[in-house]
Structure formats: structure tokens, C-alpha cells
């Protein structure tokens, strides 16, 4: 039913200024309601933290000989998981932490005024109040980010640091014996892990010889990736999509899987996203190719790799002069 005049325009609702005004007023009420619900959700988180503090305080009071190092109230063990929403946590020392969607963290023991946050998945925006008051350490399985009065963002994928952006003050990244100080305006990105492509900026190698894929196994893997994505388990979905295009690179859906992985990783792991997009842009059909090429420009821009971003942008604009992302891409990494 594709005609010159879009069929959708033939099917419409009656409209009037009265109906519009009524709906605008109703929308305002619903916005207020949503805001109240969000505030209530934040209150619940705050109350949980307060209850945890109270329990920890009582435990300390009843201890026979308190360790001077452990005098501070302890949040140890408190776990937060934002699921599909976002949360704000205010610590007793005034440190504010904004938790992104799909973020999981656990508080470690608080010692000598320093709070340990073990970030398992997702992203945090931290604002510690002043050098003398707030000290916060964000830890993963092998690295730590320590601040002594700063405003910064941290992203973690699969328990490994992927990005740090410092807005104010200074933080120190410790990885084993090495220390990297990061100052206001600086950002750090983890090097991309080895994927089925060579690098973010270079096109991937040519595909291995075609081989028959075990169809049921591939379909089952793709379905698991889709289910994880629809359920909001983004990290798991990205891993499964990456596994799909690594294990079945000659499959028709492999570029699509790479494109989906790239979309998921775009915010939290832009360099890995760029790799996935590069793969999809090389191997995909027309629509996948164009989306992937545009996604790669976005990813490289977010990763701060302006030189590679400009190359990718030039490629996109040359390959898709009338592409649907043309306007946006042409303004990226100028």
C-alpha cells in the first residue's frame, strides 16, 4: 500500500484547540505525578542508606573495643542496582553520586573518612564536596579511582574501567603499581579489548572462508542476545551480540549483531562500540552499513579520538551523500 500520498494521512483523529488545551493541561499534571514518584524513589534509597548507617552505628556502639580506624559510620555491604531507572545517593559527608541506568554497585568499608564504592557495572557521576571533607574511592576488580574533592564520571563494563571524565578537581587512577593523575577537563579511556576486528580506526580484515553455521545454535545465541537487550540487561546483551559476530562471522545476521553491540556500548565503552560499528559497516547490508558508519563517527567522537572521528566522518559523507544521518554526522567532530 505504498502510494504517492502517505496512507497515514488518510487516517486521523479530529483535532481542536479545545482538545489540545485539555491534553496540555493533563500532560502537566502527569509530569508532576512522575516527578513526585521519582522523588519518592530517591527517598526510599536515602532511607535504605540511613537504615544501613543506623545498623552500622549500633553495631559500633556495642563493640567492646572499637578500632580507631573504623570509627566512621559504615555503609559496607549496601548494594544498589538501578535497573531501568536512575538514582541519586547523598553520602553523610555531602558527596553526591548519580547512578546511571543499569548500574550496580556495592559499598565497601568506610575507613578514616574515605568511602569505598565497588562499581560492578554501569556509570557514576560523583561530586565530592571539598578536599578536607569528602574522600571517595571507586574500585573495580583491579583498578581504583580516588578523589579528594572532585567532580568526575566513571564508567565500568564487565567489572573493568572503560572511561573516566574529570570535570573539576583531580582524581588518581591506580592500576597495579602505576598511578595516573587526571585533572579537570581530562578524560581517560581503556584501550579496546581484542575483538574480531583489528582496531577502531582501521577496517577489519577480510572474512574467513565461508563455512556452514550450526543454525540452531546461532539462532539460539541471537535470541538470547535479543532477550537480554529487551529485558534491559545491556552488558549481557552486548557480550552475546559480540560472541555472535565472533563465532558466526559469515552469517547474514553477524553485521546486525555487531551493530546492536555497538549501539549498546556507545555510551559506556565508545572505543569498543567503534570496533563493532566498523565491523558492521564493512560487512552489513545497505541500511546496516549506513547506520554503522554513522554510529562509528559518534563512537569515536565520544571516545575523544578526533583524528579517527574525522576520517570516519569523511568516509560516511562520501559513501552516503544523501544519508539519513547526514546532517548529524556532518556536525560531529568538526
Amino acid at each position: 500500500m505504498r502510494s504517492e500520498k502517505p496512507v497515514g494521512t488518510l487516517l486521523d483523529v479530529p483535532w481542536s484547540t479545545e482538545r489540545e488545551s485539555r491534553l496540555r493541561a493533563g500532560t502537566g499534571l502527569r509530569v508532576d505525578l512522575l516527578r513526585r514518584r521519582r522523588r519518592a524513589a530517591r527517598f526510599v534509597v536515602g532511607a535504605a542508606a540511613a537504615a544501613s548507617l543506623l545498623v552500622a552505628g549500633l553495631a559500633l556502639r556495642s563493640a567492646p573495643a572499637p578500632d580507631p580506624i573504623s570509627k566512621a559510620p559504615d555503609l559496607a555491604g549496601l548494594e544498589l542496582d538501578t535497573g531501568a531507572g536512575t538514582q541519586h545517593v547523598l553520602l553523610p559527608d555531602g558527596t553526591g553520586i548519580d547512578l546511571a541506568e543499569h548500574t550496580r554497585l556495592r559499598f565497601g568499608p568506610t575507613t578514616t573518612g574515605r568511602t569505598d564504592v565497588i562499581l560492578l557495572q554501569g556509570g557514576l557521576s560523583v561530586a565530592t564536596p571539598a578536599p578536607a571533607e569528602g574522600r571517595l574511592r571507586v574500585a573495580t576488580s583491579s583498578q581504583t579511582v580516588e578523589s579528594n574533592g572532585a567532580r568526575f564520571d566513571v564508567h565500568v563494563e564487565e567489572s573493568a574501567l572503560t572511561a573516566i571524565v574529570v570535570h573539576d578537581g583531580q582524581v588518581v587512577l591506580r592500576d597495579g603499581a602505576s598511578e595516573t593523575p587526571l585533572r579537570s577537563g581530562e578524560r581517560w579511556h581503556a584501550p579496546p579489548p581484542p575483538l574480531p576486528v583489528a582496531s577502531a580506526a582501521e577496517p577489519p580484515p577480510s572474512p574467513p572462508p565461508a563455512r556452514r553455521r550450526p543454525k540452531n545454535e546461532a539462532d539460539e545465541l541471537f535470541a538470547r542476545a535479543e532477550a537480554a537487550r529487551l529485558a534491559g540487561r545491556r552488558a549481557e546483551a552486548a557480550t552475546l551480540y559480540a560472541e555472535y559476530h565472533a563465532r558466526f562471522p559469515d552469517d547474514a545476521d553477524a553485521p546486525l549483531a555487531a551493530l546492536e553491540a555497538g549501539r549498546i556500548l556507545l555510551e559506556t565503552a565508545p572505543l569498543r562500540a567503534a570496533s563493532s560499528f566498523a565491523y558492521a559497516a564493512k560487512r552489513g547490508g545497505a541500511s546496516v552499513r549506513e547506520d554503522a558508519a554513522a554510529g562509528r563517527v559518534d563512537a569515536l567522537s565520544r571516545a575523544g579520538d578526533l583524528a579517527a572521528c574525522r576520517v570516519a566522518r569523511t568516509e560516511y559523507l562520501a559513501d552516503h551523500p544523501t544519508g539519513r544521518h547526514h546532517a548529524r554526522v556532518s556536525k560531529t567532530c568538526p
Binding site: E226, L256, S287
Partner: protein, 203 residues
Amino acid sequence: MKPAPRPAPAFPDNVVRLELPPTDAELVLAARAGRERALDQLFHRYAKQAAGLAYRLLGRDDEVDDIVQDSFAAAMISLHRLHDPQAFAAWLWSIVTRTVTRAIRRRRLLRRLGLLPSTGDVEPSLRIAPDASPEVVAELHAVYRVIDSLPADERVILVLRRVDDLTHQEIADRTGWSVATVKRRLESAETTLARFRDLGGGS
């Protein structure tokens, strides 16, 4: 006494100075800065289209107002998450589409639980413009007769494809499903539609 010369007008009398309306990006940025007027302008600009989209996806008018209000409320409260402010419209259409999909699922669940009458979801007399050709009218009736028997996902995809004329990629962007999923579900919906026509339901 010699009269003072009149100051020259900045523009000739026959020139009307038109001001360009603000772009979506300008309105989004103003709304993020807390200007209520910008939200009003965005609502005025897109509410009618949002209602039209909701009507086409639902196939009836009685729930359209709720969908429009819920969708705009969700958009207004999440404006800070919109990566490209100029892409407000596309972002809003995806919110409307997902809100409708949830509404269809909720309605079906209530019907299964016996909390809603078991009559069809689509209103019997669609509001089709009088200038539509007989072929288009017949096609629309066929699509809207068959969508009641489809799962919510397939139903939404079929309408976006057959009525709103979107490509697979555009449908994927609207719904948040992958292109492969869209293709699979559209194929299933088209099969049901063809079977329905074979049984004489499209005439």
C-alpha cells in the same frame, strides 16, 4: 519655519519582516533550561501528529488522549537524556509507539482476565479521509480487521509498515527492536494478513 525631515524607515512600508519559528533544538534547549513556554510550543507543534500516530496504531480514539499525555509527560521529564535536540520528533514518535505497544498489551491482559468486554480492539468505523481511493479504503479495512488477531508487536509493526509506510530500519528505530526482529515479525504478520485475504476477509 522649515519642517524637520522625517527619519527614513528601517524597512520600506511594503516589506513585512517575518521571524523564523524556533527549531526543535532551540525549543528543547530552552525547555531544558526551565522555560515552560518552550514545552508549550513543542506540545503545540507535535501533539496533533502524536494523536494521529496513536490513533493509527490503536485503531480507535478512546485511548488516544491518554497515550498523548503519557508520551509527552515521559518526554518532558526525560528531555535531558535526548542526545540530539534536533531529533526531538523522531524521539517522541518512538515514545508514542512504545506507549501504545504497552497499552495494547495491558488491554489484552485485562480482557483475558475478564476485566474488559471481549469485543475487538479496533473501532468498527475507521475515520478514513473521504478522498481516499476505494482500493486504499479496502486495504485499510483489511489491515485493521486482521490486527486484532495479531500479537501486540506484530500488530504495531504491520501498521507502521502498511499504514505509516515506514522502512524496516525506521520501524526498528521507532520500536527499539532490531531490524532482524522487525523483519521476522512483519513476515509473520503479513502471512496472517494474506491468509485472512484468502479467506475473503479483504474484500
